[in-house]
């Protein structure tokens, strides 16, 4: 009796451990065999870390990011890169930071202990910021393809970079668009109480106030909130002309749906975290007409070669940040090639001065590690698809059609018109 009981418990525990283990990370597909390469010169394995939430509410975005990095590394391996006379094989170490700020430094320390040459990550600003000091101490370059909170690069760390724009560029962009196009008198601002959400909401509020628009006292949810009715009911009573939410799509979708159910018929606007086509599924018809911004150029304006390669490899379309993590990984590789070394200390200066044509356009870093001249794009949801409305670059608003027509896009990156994207999907 006792033994069987022990057995049952043991089995259950083992089961729990197993499933936990599997949940952490999908087994990486074996790297493509490098055919046609003569008996190998000494091969070194260079580890590249990637961290993002792979479980929890925004695990889909985390996986998307990881896919971007995986694509870049696999392509580099297939090409076969030689640095300092040695053949390099890149290996991806994917970690799950669970989108938890306290998990950030732990994952970062893991990477340091595993002696990675560079890190792409993290997804969340709230996780990236505490993690960055660990990377800084170890001198390991880290490039985030998604963290937009200004603080990340304001800490004076030489190793922290990002390939996306900052909230203090993105917030003003979406806020000034909102102010110019909808001319609201009162705006309600909500955030999800994360570093990203409240940071973005702060920037939006500041810009709106500067434009002489009244902003209601901030309402907050959490990154787990599904029930926004209490908050929205309160807001409805104050009759704002527009609503801005700083948060992700998994919470933004229900917010929008419930707002419409409560009979709030004003425009809803979002930052990049809720600027995904998922919004259409999560909020249904309510998503129609939302306004949102993305740091950088639209996913569909990313390099077509990247879009095709991603689709071919993962049998899915990139969701949001994968073009940026793809570029981030390629930047690390490029800097290593330029420095002819995989030593972080040696290739870091090259990385800081890099000038690279990536899937999201031309990339250069300023002295803080932010991307120079990052574009912001304003989207709207039309017939269930996100359509770019305008590109905002160095404070100027350019209509999307003009942007594509003028060839401004061609200079930045070969933008793909929407029609092509639709064709790709089939």
């Amino acid at each position: 009796m006792n033994r069987t009981r022990a057995l049952a418990t043991g089995l259950l525990l083992a089961g729990a451990l197993l499933t936990q283990g599997c949940g952490k990370e999908a087994p990486p597909p074996p790297p493509a065999p490098k055919a046609g390469i003569p008996p190998p010169p000494p091969e070194i394995v260079v580890k590249i870390g990637h961290a993002a939430p792979l479980t929890g509410g925004i695990a889909h975005l985390g996986k998307d990011n990881e896919n971007g990095v995986r694509l870049a590394l696999d392509e580099a391996n297939a090409k076969g890169i030689t640095i300092d006379g040695k053949k390099i094989k890149f290996e991806l170490i994917g970690e799950d930071d669970e989108a938890k700020p306290d998990k950030g430094p732990i994952v970062a320390q893991k990477f340091v202990d595993a002696k990675v040459a560079g890190v792409v990550g993290h997804l969340n600003s709230g996780v990236s910021i505490p993690a960055s000091s660990v990377y800084n101490q170890a001198g390991i370059p880290v490039i985030s393809g998604a963290a937009t909170n200004p603080m990340l690069t304001e800490q004076g760390f030489k190793v922290a970079f990002r390939t996306v724009g900052r909230d203090d560029q993105q917030g003003p962009a979406v806020a000034s668009y909102l102010a110019a196009e909808f001319k609201p008198k009162t705006v309600a601002v909500i955030d999800d109480a994360t570093a990203y959400g409240s940071g973005l909401a702060n920037e939006v509020e500041r810009t709106l106030k500067a434009a002489g628009i009244k902003v209601l006292p901030r309402e907050k949810g959490t990154d787990q909130t599904r029930d926004w009715k209490a908050v929205l009911t309160k807001i409805r009573g104050k009759k704002p002309d527009a609503i801005f939410y700083g948060g992700m799509d998994a919470t933004g979708g229900p917010l929008l749906k419930q707002g419409r159910e409560l009979g709030i018929n004003v425009v809803f606007s979002f930052g990049d975290g809720a600027c995904t086509e998922e919004m259409n599924k999560l909020a249904g018809d309510a998503a129609e007409g939302l306004i949102c911004s993305q740091a950088g150029l639209p996913v569909q304006a990313a390099n077509k070669r990247f879009l095709d390669a991603y689709k071919a490899k993962f049998n899915a379309d990139p969701i949001l940040y994968s073009p940026f993590t793809y570029d981030a990984a390629n930047l690390l590789i490029e800097a290593m090639k330029k420095a002819n070394s995989v030593e972080p200390a040696k290739y870091l200066p090259k990385l800081a001065k890099i000038n690279y044509e990536g899937a999201t356009g031309k990339i250069e870093f300023d002295e803080k590690g932010d991307r120079k001249d990052a574009e912001m794009t304003i989207f709207t949801m039309k017939a269930g698809k996100l359509e770019p409305l305008a590109i905002i670059k160095s404070g100027k608003t350019i209509k999307y059609e003009d942007f594509v027509k003028d060839g401004a896009a061609a200079a930045a990156s070969p933008a793909v018109p929407l029609e092509d994207k639709k064709g790709d999907k089939k």
Partner: protein, 308 residues
């Protein structure tokens, strides 16, 4: 005033859902003094199964939407009852006479297993729950109430009434009450305790499945982690009402829903925006702590809570 009325409607809807889930906790606790922490995950499985079935039927058949939703809920109920039975049979029955901590830890383990299995089956993405029934909005005074909200409140009342009937008017109910008073003596009196306990788990799981469909339809979203917080709150509701007490679970659920809606709606104004509506989730646990400190037996509970 319209805002207050609207918050009451919001709270009642939320509370109805909590009440249905809380019933599952309270029934199991009443009968074997186990806090079945995997119950929230059963709600999630119910939502996921219904989502899959409804999505498939809507895409591949021409049945009327209401029929599709009913079939979806039916399949979810069956699957959840199976899960409930399996939980009891595989995870808890062997531990029935073990020290109380062992089944509690097992329950937490079972909830992790269910969550991770769901992640493998249904992916990590938040899934959109198919919205196939038209959802007209009605105006009451200046507040709004949707068809789905009315349906949720009505269904949960039906569920509670049905459960009360089963417990107080059927042979199974008599056996359940006898087992909860004293399993040993009930056994001696010819009650098949194993069957009764399994039936209790399955009843609770069926309620959980219905709650899963409600949550999915109401928020339009389903995710593999959706059960944990919901489960914890429903558990708080059960404790508030007096765990082990059916009427208490219903009362506790409704009260908790109202407290959350009103709390989140007014805390900002009352504290001059020092605390914001992001403290919505905290109310459930403040209530839980307050109840445990001041009235451990809950609002309607009689037994003094000497058990874990």
């Amino acid at each position: 005033m319209d805002i207050f009325l609207q918050q009451i409607i919001n709270g009642l809807t939320l509370g109805s859902i909590y009440a249905v889930v809380a019933l599952g906790y309270t029934m199991v606790y009443g009968i074997i003094q186990l806090i079945n922490f995997a119950h929230g995950e059963v709600v999630m499985i119910g939502a996921m199964v219904a989502l899959t079935v409804i999505g498939w039927l809507a895409a591949n058949t021409a049945l009327p939407p209401l029929v599709i939703v009913l079939i979806g809920a039916g399949v979810a109920i069956l699957v959840c009852m199976l899960v409930g039975y399996a939980l009891e049979r595989l995870a808890y029955r062997r531990l029935r006479h073990a020290p109380r901590l062992a089944p509690l830890i097992t329950a937490i383990g079972a909830s992790i297993v269910l969550q991770q299995v769901a992640m493998m089956v249904w992916s990590r993405n938040p899934l959109a729950f198919p919205q196939i029934i038209a959802n007209p909005v009605f105006h009451v005074a200046e507040a709004t109430i949707t068809m789905v909200q009315i349906a949720i409140i009505a269904t949960s009342i039906l569920m509670m009434a049905g459960l009360t009937l089963i417990v107080y008017r059927t042979r199974l109910g008599v056996a359940m009450r006898a087992t909860s008073q004293n399993p040993h003596i009930a056994g001696l009196m010819g009650v098949d305790i194993n069957r009764v306990i399994a039936a209790t788990f399955m009843l609770g799981a069926a309620l959980a499945a219905v709650a899963g469909v409600m949550v999915g339809t109401y928020y339009g979203i389903a995710h593999y982690t959706m059960g944990s917080l919901l489960g914890l709150k429903a558990f708080s509701a059960a404790v508030l009402g007096g765990i082990g007490n059916l009427a208490g679970a219903m009362l506790g659920g409704l009260l908790l829903g109202l407290v959350e809606a009103l709390g989140a709606g007014y805390i900002g104004d009352l504290t001059n925006n020092v605390f914001g509506s992001n403290y919505q989730d905290v109310f459930a646990f403040i209530v839980l702590i307050a109840v445990l400190v001041f009235r451990p037996s809950g609002l309607l509970g009689e037994r003094v809570g000497d058990r874990a």
